[in-house]
């Protein structure tokens, strides 16, 4: 049987995704994994390490450097009765596959009058933090979240890494999953399958009354850290992990903001045109009369992400910025904190 680590004791994010793939492939012979270096190399971020030995090179299918070609082939294979998991190594390279995703995957069901089904899952790594510079550090989640016909997931915890893929595969329509590059080494105990939450739901990761901190993906950990620091100052922040970026679980967002009256959205996307902007707009539209202060965002700076660590950090959201934004929003004294990261 499987040599893939699936025990729920303690998995890394990477292992959790791998376990999810392995489980799905054991359960359904229509599932296969296709992408660059998923097989012999074991995956750019080692997610699929060992899977080729377990399932063979036909079901762990190494693809040439042809993002448009093999993503389109994944769409076609889904139409043809398979359940492909396509790995686009990173979101940066998905730019080469956008025509297939937007013009085909997202439109075909509706445009054919409901005839076609595209039960496809596309996984891709996203985000900055590894000092990979401007062409390798994109966070384009809001581009995808803008497109009707696809669903967009952003697992930020080990549990979600473990279970969201299965839910995405069970969905009859195309689902894009973003895995933040800084999460792969994180570890945690995986809950039982019964405790996993529907992929469409946002989750309140920490309850609080004073302010809502809304985030997703690679920014969740930073936001949780910020919430902890705020706690030391007796500010009770509620932290919401969006999880599903399209469609948005507006109910969870709105009830939190209606309760706290204050909101900061933390998002690694560039500020202008960001998903954070969308959340702020939604909140302003729907929670206007509950708001005690303007909605705020902590986003990436409007600059191609530079290589050196200090500039990469300056360009992307940091814990301290979240804390300060919250302090300002609550009219608390702004104190330099021992963020220590």
């Amino acid at each position: 049987m499987s040599s893939i680590k699936t025990d729920s004791a303690n998995l890394s994010y990477r292992e959790a995704v791998r376990a999810a793939i392995s489980e799905a492939m054991h359960a359904d012979s229509r599932v296969f994994l296709m992408g660059e270096d998923v097989g012999n190399y074991g995956g750019c971020y080692a997610v699929s390490k060992g899977l080729s030995a377990e399932f063979g090179s036909e079901r762990i299918l190494d693809a040439p450097l042809s993002e448009s070609g093999f993503v389109g082939a994944g769409i076609g294979a889904a139409m043809g009765g398979m359940r492909p998991i396509v790995e686009v190594m990173t979101v940066n390279f998905s730019l080469l596959a956008l025509d297939q995703i937007v013009n085909n995957a997202a439109t075909l069901r509706h445009m054919s009058g409901g005839q076609l089904s595209i039960p496809l899952v596309i996984r891709m790594a996203t985000g900055a933090g590894k000092q990979l510079a401007a062409q390798h550090s994109h966070s384009l989640e809001n581009w995808y979240a803008h497109v009707p016909g696809i669903k967009v997931l952003s697992p930020a915890t080990i549990a979600d890494a473990r279970y969201m893929l299965g839910m995405a595969l069970a969905d009859p329509d195309p689902v894009i999953i973003f895995e933040h590059v800084m999460l792969y080494n994180e570890t945690d105990v995986v809950p039982s399958p019964n405790d996993c939450v529907d992929m469409h739901k946002a989750v309140v990761r920490q309850e609080g009354q004073d302010i809502s901190l809304i985030t997703y993906g690679g920014s969740l950990a930073k936001t949780m850290q910020a919430a902890e620091l705020l706690q030391q100052q007796h500010i009770n922040a509620e932290v919401i992990d969006l999880r599903c970026l399209r469609p948005l679980d507006t109910q969870t967002i709105f009830s939190s903001v209606n309760k706290t009256g204050r909101v900061i959205v933390v998002d690694e996307g560039w500020r202008t045109g960001s998903l954070a902007g969308e959340i702020c707009a939604l909140v302003a539209e729907h929670c206007f009369w509950s708001l005690d202060a303007p909605p705020q965002r902590v986003c990436s700076q409007e600059v191609p992400i530079p290589y050196p660590k200090h500039l990469e950090q300056a360009a992307t959201p940091q814990v301290e910025q979240i804390v300060i934004a919250a302090q300002i929003l609550l009219n608390k004294p702004v104190s330099k904190l021992d963020v220590n990261q």
Binding site: S68, G72, A73, M79, M82, D99, N104, M111, S112, L116
Partner: protein, 330 residues
Amino acid sequence: MTNTKNKPHMDKQHLQHLLKQMLRIRRFEERCAQLYTQEKIRGFLHLYNGEEAVAVGVMQALKPEDAVLATYREHGHALARGLDMNAVMAELYGKVTGSSRGRGGSMHIFDTAKGFYGGNAIVAGALPLAVGLALADKMQHKANVTVCFFGEGAVAEGEFHESLNLAKLWQLPVLFVCENNGYAMGTALQISESEQHIYKKAQSYGLDAKAVDGMNVVDVEAAAKHYCDVIRSGSGPCFLECNTYRFRGHSMFDTQLYRASEEVKEWQLKGPIVKLQNWLQDNHELRESELAQLEAEVVQEVDAAVVFAEEAEFEAEADLFFGVHTAVTV
């Protein structure tokens, strides 16, 4: 039209069938052009006029389980593949009884029951889909063929290159059919490709590839049958370049500044319908009365399709969201 008698299927009946299929497309589209000027049909309308032999010839080689993908110029493929003309016409009208509930229009005709996967308005956009359908067949050990039609303009796209390599690398059951009509909108092949023999480009990926006279429906059929046999035998993808010509503009907006009307006239003399019809008549395989009968049947079918489309309803506005996702139902 030499030697056709030697081939099993090339009897009078079959040749008349081919003629009728081409006539169905021709007359259907002539009516479409009228309906376009009457604003019954809107959006883009790309006619297949002159190229009918390609779709009709290739379709003869297919089985019901096979898959077909085409471009925005796909009325001919849809009809030759056996889609109901009523549903196709209703689609062009944007009516809910259309093949895509009227949502796709001329460029997006679908019928999964017939293995007809569209109708794609992005040049070369269907090629990767064809690769994927064939991959699914191979993985499921189905001996089907996926046929993908595209124009010679698509050859310049990266998706062409990626798709041919994937198909050959993985030995997938795809028949690529390049409809080389010499122009991509107003761009002649000489100003879009450094190598203008498209089949040679395909050969450079290791595909079994050749060019045929796309004005000769019999040649197209023979070549397609041969390649489909090769593909079904498990020898991987093949590539058929069909040299043809479109008699009308690229779309209804085209003022055709880029070519001389003499060129068009020359090609028209070599048209696939006139060619087959003349041959049949010269060989006493088509009596005047038979031809009249054929034409009458076709006109009747087209007339009925127009009536069907006219009488059909538009989709209710309330159903706008149906099918964005599977869960969104009527």
